[in-house]
């Protein structure tokens, strides 16, 4: 399997089809000239609901991390009531190891804006906010420029070709975040958008029912929305011709892994970067064909498949097939953002775990107990173990504290949001898959020796 033509990177030169050095910003004229906004035109010829149905039929799954089917999400909206409804575009991209949305924002912002316009029509959303991470200064500028162009070309604004939605002319705003991972979590994003402290909200109510400013709101990732234009333009069959279909016997309610996907590869490889391929591509293929192989020819040890929240796969999983089933198959959280971090044989997994724990303890919003205190203690325990001062029982405590936090069943529903699930999976999979590395660390300092030492010190 391999993609015939680039889709998301159609206008962004990317190996193997193009040279990254030829990349430049696609302005709206170039976008139009290369078939841009064709999908929107098609969508405008359809009833809103038909567009939702089409996206549903395409089984487009969210590219922001959770892989939730976009069409299904759109269909959860309550019927229109004449009052405001929002689209919040998640451009917070703060998952470590993830930099795919940035590529689209940097070079082809209109691909996103087209998706936004289609979504607004399909879901009857009158206002959209693009919530972009604070550190993306340049991208925010580019985006604002593109939004301006879109207004001038009547995509949004008073003469928008979308016409009135909920009795209002459609608007699109760029809203910059202020630098917190939690603001990428969809409800943390909404709080931040409303000008409040970025804390995740308890659910229900879900954003589709009561989101931004208490009104129905759709939240989608940049890449998810960027995919919508091409689907409208080229059709469901075209989209489903790529990726991994549902295996036989699996009910149709279980979504499959169709379509192209941006993979952001970093770590111990020769050519890190964003590459576009079909879902289901083997990681080994990605590393060897696109990334120029392992750095210094070192041996593969482990990889994080989709941002650190998803956890790691082991040394035997070099050929792991990267689709939405990766979690079930290789015992990790899932495909996440498809931000792959490759680690070679020289990697110290205890240090990796400590580094990840530090991230989560720094980024926990501090609202719920298991995550607020738990991420802190994981970091403390891991620092201790890394320094060689840990005890064997610390490993069990670490495993237990990690394993009992998170909103997903694996975290026993003990937290409000998924940040803790990320901490849980990241730490737990590393400890599970590389337990010996931890054990050798703590074994170096058996308890008895420690107390003798401290007596002597005293």
């Amino acid at each position: 399997m391999a993609l015939d033509h680039p889709v998301l990177t159609k206008r962004i030169p990317t190996p193997p089809w193009g040279d990254p050095r030829d990349r430049k910003l696609i302005d709206i004229d170039m976008y139009f000239d290369t078939g841009g906004y064709e999908g929107l035109k098609k969508a405008m010829g359809m009833k809103p609901n038909a567009v939702v149905e089409l996206v549903k039929e395409a089984e487009l799954r969210g590219r922001g991390g959770a892989g939730f089917p976009a069409g299904m999400k759109w269909s959860f909206l309550p019927p229109v009531d004449g009052d405001r409804r929002y689209l919040a575009v998640n451009a917070d991209e703060s998952e470590p190891g993830t930099f795919k949305d940035r590529l689209l924002l940097d070079y082809d912002p209109h691909l996103l804006l087209e998706g936004i316009a289609i979504c607004m029509h399909a879901c009857q959303l009158d206002t959209s906010y693009i919530y972009i991470r604070g550190e993306y200064h340049q991208q925010a500028k580019t985006l604002k420029y593109a939004v301006n162009e879109a207004y001038e070309n009547k995509i949004f604004g008073n003469e928008s070709l979308l016409g009135q939605i909920n009795g209002r002319m459609p608007q699109c705003y760029v809203h910059r975040g202020a630098g917190a991972y939690i603001c990428g979590e969809e409800t943390g994003l909404l709080e931040s958008l409303e000008g409040k402290r970025g804390w995740a909200r308890i659910k229900p109510p879900f954003p589709a029912v009561a989101g931004a400013f208490g009104r129905p709101t759709i939240i989608n990732n940049v890449e998810t929305l960027a995919m919508v234009g091409p689907i409208l333009e080229l059709g469901v069959n075209w989209f489903k011709s790529m990726g991994v279909p549902r295996p036989d016997g699996i009910p149709s309610t279980v979504p499959a892994s169709y379509g192209p996907k941006l993979f952001g590869v970093s770590g111990h490889i020769n050519r890190p970067g964003i590459y576009e391929e079909e879902l289901g591509i083997k990681m080994s293929h990605l590393i060897e064909e696109f990334c120029g192989g392992m750095r210094d020819g070192a041996k593969f040890k482990s990889a994080i498949v989709g941002g650190i929240s998803t956890g790691v796969i082991g040394p035997d999983d070099y050929d792991a097939q990267l689709d939405f089933d990766v979690g079930a198959k290789y015992n990790c959280l899932g495909l996440g953002t498809a931000g792959v971090i490759v680690m070679d044989e020289h990697t110290d997994m205890v240090a990796v775990a400590r580094n990840i724990a530090q991230f989560f303890s720094h980024e926990s919003c501090g609202q719920c107990t298991p995550c607020r205190e738990g991420t802190h203690w994981m970091y403390q325990l891991l620092s201790r173990i890394e320094r060689g001062q840990g005890y064997a029982k610390d490993i069990d405590l670490l495993h237990e504290v990690a394993g009992s936090m998170g909103a997903l069943p694996s975290g026993q529903g003990s937290t409000i949001c998924g940040l803790a699930d990320g901490a849980n999976w990241a730490i737990r999979t590393i400890v599970d898959k590389f337990r010996n590395e931890f054990e050798t660390r703590v074994k170096k300092k058996p308890q008895i020796l420690q107390s003798v030492e401290s007596v002597n010190d005293g």
């Binding site: 303890s361 980024e363 926990s364 719920c368 738990g374």
Partner: protein
């Protein structure tokens, strides 16, 4: 919190640990399981705030799914919920362990020992020392600087209950969580500390804190109380229900009662913290008799009471009913007020008894009585949660009636529209959709213009008018000329704003009008009240949950004092003293013929004494020499009396003028009832014994009667102590609208709102339901515009208006004897003046100024603030030494004699530095 959304009555069926439960579909799992007597631990949940879901100790299992937090998860039909399992036990213990891992393990040394939620939880889940053995990293020092809120943030567990209490209950948004992750902490304002963050010291955050991170001095310093007594606050007309904690016969602290129907577990700084006055060392502790030289001598109760009995008898015999009058007290109980008026009518044979509602809300009672058939507000506090538009006129409830003010804020924050008619930029004005900042004294003009717009733009309800009212044509005619443009000239409010306000009011499906002293004490108060009632009636906004027209009554028992007949023209329940049936009923029970002539109103009393016809007075706990308008006139009148008795808890300017001063008691030392602003009769219960040397006020009145040979009929035993429940029975027997009230029922129901027609009647939350007015048809009353008694001119170019401030009460007698006075904002009187005026007069913030009116002058410090508007200045009357009332006019409402406290032309002069920043002498007045 009461939400705007009312349950639609649909239920779902679930099972909890196998037990079938039917429960409203919007219930949470926690409410469901508590409804069948089960429980799970909670640290961050509070039943009056929105679920928050942060501590995660309330996890329960859903069969076939993952655990969920019970406190915020809605029930789902057919689900089976499991509250106990090995997994849950482990999770709960682990979570508790995590909380404790950052908490000092010094329970024995902790002031919350024995009443700490975390401690009980640790016990419950069987937690011992946590496994995380690193030292804790957070250890901020204790902060004891605030008089009421003691901080020990090392113990904070980050549940944000305090933050949410401040937001959701008090509506002040003082607190927030700052930092993230492990380092989150509670901060006040921008981490500036409570006081600088504008905290109003309501104490809700302290109530909600589950550990010892936020504590109040009482329990902290004294440990657990011996005894807790439920009673009703004696400060304002909200009538908060309080739990008084007592140890060794002393009040150690007061906390809001969760059962309180008026306050729902809330209080303001006064009810909650301003109670030390009861134990103040300068309480009057012995009767005082003035000797020939004019100085007071201590006397025994026997001597004092005998003297009074003798002099009262002489007065009655020498001068008859015209020579004697009484002022009762809205601070005292219904029973004591009833006793006072019975004393006046039975013992002294006079109807000259009045209470201070004269100086506040008599125009409201009058107008409501005339127009609708009863002199009280139409609705209850809780209705603000059902209103979709509130029109608030001349009231500053967030300062004067803080708990009701907080409920108004809750409603507004939940989406209710708000119109404010007030010269000041009050807190609510800041939250309002339309604010009409009118010139003091121009209420009637603006209210007329509002009526004009309603009629002109056909925003009225013709069907309701036709069916349930009379007099519409007269009103229509009177209002025809009252255009917004016309009102704009008088009030200096933009005419478009007036139109907007009228339209917004009319747009509500449940528009409610509330008014305060700014209506009744601002000249022609009755007409303003009539106008507001007209608006409600014309638009049919009355008689349902939500819409209505109600005054917010000032003091704790002004409603009750009038209800039980401490008025010169009516018996209890506002039955006229000339009404034959009322007279017959009274004669039957009292055994004597009550006097027929209408008695003197308070202002008339002073005039009568001035003219020498009134010779003696008996004043119960009213500092008229200080709180009545035109102080010099009042003082002169009192000095003119032959004999005057004052019952008080502290020496004050009025008592100074008395011949005999009797030491009464505070509400903490007596039994009785108060009737609050929304007609809610609630029990006052004795928490501590009367201080040695003092007597309960009702007992004093009764003892005087006894010594004059009259048995008023309420003795509880052989001594002359009264049994207040017997008095209530007599009130019930003589008042049709209180007929169903008794102590027994009050114990059962907690409170009764009158009208309560018989012993089976539940009381009335909303009067005049469905257009059935107590008066039959509502009377629409034309309200012609008249200039106020006081107008500015070249010499007195500014308008002074007076009012209350949150931290004090009336003349500050009580509040200023408590730690409340340690708060910055409660330290001294200031003249609040807009920067524009200040600049013109070259007055700087904090400078001494002279406030000069046509009636007198006072000297205070200027506070330059945008809380007032240009042209208007503001003072309170909480600080006797600044004697605000010296500058107040003696103009009165034409119908009720209510003084125009709020409208005074003044000029402001800088006190020159030559006078060395001290004030020049104040002429007259003080003696």
């Amino acid at each position: 919190m009461i939400s705007h959304i009312q349950n639609n009555g649909r239920t779902v069926s679930i099972t909890i640990d196998g037990q079938q439960v039917e429960i409203p579909e919007d219930a949470t799992v926690l409410t469901a399981l508590r409804s069948i007597g089960k429980d799970v631990p909670t640290l961050c949940y509070s039943d009056r705030m929105k679920p928050y879901g942060a501590c995660r100790t309330c996890l329960i299992e859903v069969e076939g799914g993952k655990p969920v937090a019970a406190c915020h998860t809605p029930v789902q039909n057919d689900r089976n919920y499991i509250t106990q399992s090995p997994l849950l036990t482990r999770l709960r213990r682990n979570i508790t362990e995590l909380v404790v891992s950052d908490h000092p393990l010094e329970c024995l040394d902790c002031t919350a020992n024995g009443r700490c939620d975390l401690q009980s939880l640790a016990q419950q889940v069987g937690l011992r020392t946590p496994r995380y053995e690193n030292p804790r990293t957070h250890n901020p020092p204790k902060d004891d600087s605030h008089p009421f809120i003691k901080l020990e943030m090392a113990k904070c567990i980050g549940c944000a209950k305090c933050v949410r209490a401040c937001d959701e209950v008090q509506g002040s948004f003082i607190l927030g969580m700052s930092g993230r992750g492990y380092d989150v902490k509670v901060i006040a304002g921008n981490d500036t500390g409570f006081e600088d963050a504008n905290c109003v010291s309501c104490g809700q955050c302290v109530v909600e804190c589950p550990v010892a991170a936020l504590e109040e001095p009482g329990t902290r310093d004294f440990g657990l109380p011996d005894n807790t007594v439920n009673t009703t606050c004696s400060y304002c007309g909200v009538g908060c229900s309080l739990d008084v904690n007592v140890k060794d016969g002393q009040v150690i602290n007061i906390v809001p009662s969760k059962q309180g129907s008026a306050n729902l577990g809330h209080t303001c700084v006064k009810g909650r913290f301003a109670h030390q006055f009861a134990h103040s060392t300068d309480r009057l502790r012995t009767p005082l008799i003035k000797d020939k030289s004019g100085s007071f001598q201590e006397a025994t109760w026997d001597t004092a009471l005998d003297l009074i009995a003798m002099r009262f008898t002489e007065l009655r015999e020498n001068y008859g009913p015209a020579g004697f009058s009484m002022i009762s007290s809205s601070r005292c109980t219904n029973e004591e007020n009833f006793l006072m008026q019975k004393f006046a009518r039975v013992v002294m044979g006079t109807n000259s008894i009045d209470n201070c509602s004269r100086v506040c809300h008599s125009p409201s009672s009058y107008a409501l009585g005339q127009a609708l058939g009863t002199g009280a507000g139409t609705n209850s506090f809780q209705d603000v949660h059902y209103s979709d538009v509130l029109l608030i006129v001349g009231a500053n409830p967030t300062e004067a009636h803080p708990v009701f003010g907080a409920r108004i804020k809750q409603s507004v924050l939940a989406g209710c529209k708000l119109i404010i008619l007030d010269p000041r930029n009050t807190e609510l004005a800041g939250l309002s959709d339309v604010h009409l900042p009118l010139r003091p004294g121009s209420n009637v003009a603006v209210i007329n213009a509002l009526q004009h717009v309603l009629i002109e733009e056909d925003l009225i309800d013709p069907q309701f008018i036709a069916q349930h009212t009379e007099g519409f044509e007269l009103v229509k005619k009177e209002m025809s000329g009252c255009t917004p443009q016309w009102a704009s000239q008088i009030s200096s409010v933009n005419s478009d704003l007036i139109r907007q306000a009228a339209r917004l009011y009319a747009s509500g499906k449940a528009s409610q009008i509330l008014w305060g002293l700014g209506v009744t004490e601002a000249g022609h108060g009755s007409n303003a009240a009539f106008g507001l009632i007209n608006m409600a009636v014309m638009t049919g906004n009355i008689g349902r949950p939500g819409p209505g027209a109600s005054p917010i009554r000032g003091q704790n028992n002004v409603q009750g004092a009038s209800d039980v007949g401490a008025l010169p023209n009516v018996f209890c329940d506002y039955r006229s003293v000339t009404d034959t049936q009322a007279r017959a009923d009274h004669k039957k029970i009292w055994g004597v013929e009550p006097p027929t002539n209408t008695g003197l109103r308070i202002p008339d009393m002073f005039d009568a004494s001035h003219h020498g016809t009134l010779k003696g007075m008996y004043i119960l706990a009213e500092d008229v020499a200080q709180s009545d308008p035109n102080t010099s006139h009042v003082v002169g009148s009192l000095e003119n009396l032959e004999f005057m008795v004052v019952q008080e808890i502290f020496m004050n300017p009025t008592a100074e003028l008395a011949d005999v001063v009797l030491p009464g008691t505070t509400f903490l030392e007596k039994d009785g009832t108060f009737c609050n602003s929304d007609r809610r009769i609630q029990r006052v219960r004795k928490a501590i014994e009367p201080l040695t040397g003092t007597m309960v006020d009702g007992d004093i009145t009764n003892a005087i009667a006894r010594r004059m040979g009259v048995d008023l009929g309420f003795d509880s035993g052989p001594d002359t102590l009264i049994d207040p429940s017997k008095i209530m029975d007599e009130i019930a027997a003589l008042s049709p609208k209180w007929a169903g009230v008794s102590y027994e029922r009050l114990e059962q129901l907690g409170f009764i709102q009158w009208p309560c027609w018989d012993k089976d009647h539940p009381g009335t939350d909303i009067v005049h339901r469905n257009g059935e007015f107590l008066s039959g048809k509502a009377k629409l009353t034309p309200t012609p515009w008249q200039e106020p008694g006081e107008l500015p001119d070249d010499q007195y170019p500014l308008m002074l208006t007076t009012g209350r401030q949150l931290f004090h009460y009336n003349v500050g007698t009580m509040t200023r004897r408590t730690d409340v006075s340690k708060l910055h904002k409660a330290k001294e009187e200031t003249l609040r003046i807009h920067p524009k005026d200040a600049r013109r007069l070259e007055i700087r913030n904090g400078e001494q100024v002279n406030v000069i009116s046509r009636h007198g002058h006072v000297c205070v410090r200027a506070e330059v603030t945008k809380a007032t508007n240009p042209g208007t200045v503001f003072m309170t009357f909480h600080f006797p030494e600044s004697r605000t009332n010296l500058v107040i006019s003696s103009a009165m409402d034409e119908y009720t004699g209510c003084p125009e406290y709020k409208v005074n032309a003044v000029r402001i002069e800088k006190v020159s530095s030559a006078q060395n920043q001290t004030c020049p002498d104040i002429p007259s007045a003080s003696k």
